[in-house]
Amino acid sequence: MKGIDGLRRLSGGASRETLSFSADGRALILRKDPPGAVAGGLAREADLLRAARAAGVPVPDVVASGDGGDGVGAPYIVMNHVEGETIARRILRDDEYADARPLMARQCGEILAAIHSIPTDATGGLPDDDPLEKYAGVYAMFDEPHPTFDLALKWLRARRPSTTRRTLVHGDFRNGNLIVGPEGVRSVLDWELAHIGDPIEDLGWLCANAWRFGGLLPVGGFGTYDDLVAGYEAASGVEVDRAALNWWEAAANLSWGVICIAQAATHRSGAVRSVELAAIGRRVCETEWDLLGNFDAAGWPS
């Protein structure tokens, strides 16, 4: 590469850094671990981005990647910059995306079908633990009783979907991790939470109330269950069990609630003092309210 211009830090801090720059007139993004980071996460993400692209998933094109053994000194990925919006409240409210919004639920269904066709051996070391029990364990770690979550665990354990499909799961497919243009979804970001599991998990996560950002429609605040499922079924040829989708949406609400507890604990422990993290502790009751709605919709107690 000859000239590097316009190097600009987009985000970062104690953990991973994201920088934008252009090289030979091409707009690029660099994601880089801090010096001394354990190799693995970003190398896996580079593998996944390449495999996703091969499977027809809209993702940035990986231009270069490395494990830190080269001059960069830490694991990194260089990818092309995809123009568009990631901020949910703009995507959900700005006129610029008015035509995109009615299309996006179906597009998300189609994209998720492509993600679930990525070979599960596209990269090594993908976790395959049960998400419900994982978050049950995190909840138990904190001595912060939330009776709604105990009810949710009881409810979810008694109604596990009997699915046998195991695919690659994106793990964080939602508003905020999608680059959107006036025509709809352009790119899927943040593959750090990818794992092996029941693919309907991704559909349920996208429907969790937290990702609607105040929008009234169930799929990310922009679309309907019917459009999401229709897009998924048409592209995958697999029928979506609506009860399983509801189950995964409730599981997502529980997971997000537990994540909120963990984030507030990060502040309270002194690890990262932040008014934002502190405030998140008082958002846990939003997920409790959502879970009570999930119980009502599906019938509880039975």
Binding site: P147, T148, V275, C285, W289
Partner: protein, 117 residues
């Protein structure tokens, strides 16, 4: 909240004064990340004011509701649900839990109940 020891302004009025300062002066003088965190801080102070107003009353009501289940605390309720000890009274349990969550939202984010689907 009033008490006999401290002078006015009350705790609630002091919180309100800080919030008004953030709204009037800090929001207009900042941008980006600091402005975002200022907005979060304003929301937090609104929450604190609401809790100062209704917190004691809510705690009493919650204790009364728990007592109808023969339970003394959130921790005990949590454990009783998990162990199955209240499985034959789940409708009552859900009603008690829902009332508590409603109270928490009344303080934390009152719009959430009105806006929920």
């Amino acid at each position: 909240m009033t008490d006999d020891v401290h002078d006015v302004p009350t705790a609630s009025e002091l919180v309100e004064a800080v919030r008004e300062f953030l709204e009037r002066d800090v929001m207009t003088a900042t941008e980006g990340r600091v402005q975002f965190h200022t907005r979060v801080a304003i929301n937090v102070l609104n929450m604190v004011q609401r809790e100062l107003t209704v917190g004691v009353e809510q705690a009493d009501a919650h204790a009364e509701r728990l007592a109808t289940l023969g339970i003394a605390s959130e921790k005990e309720l949590s454990a009783a649900i998990a162990s199955g000890a209240l499985d034959d009274r789940l409708a009552d349990v859900v009603a008690v839990v829902r009332a508590a969550v409603r109270d928490k939202l009344t303080v934390a984010n009152p719009k959430y109940i009105a806006n929920s689907p």
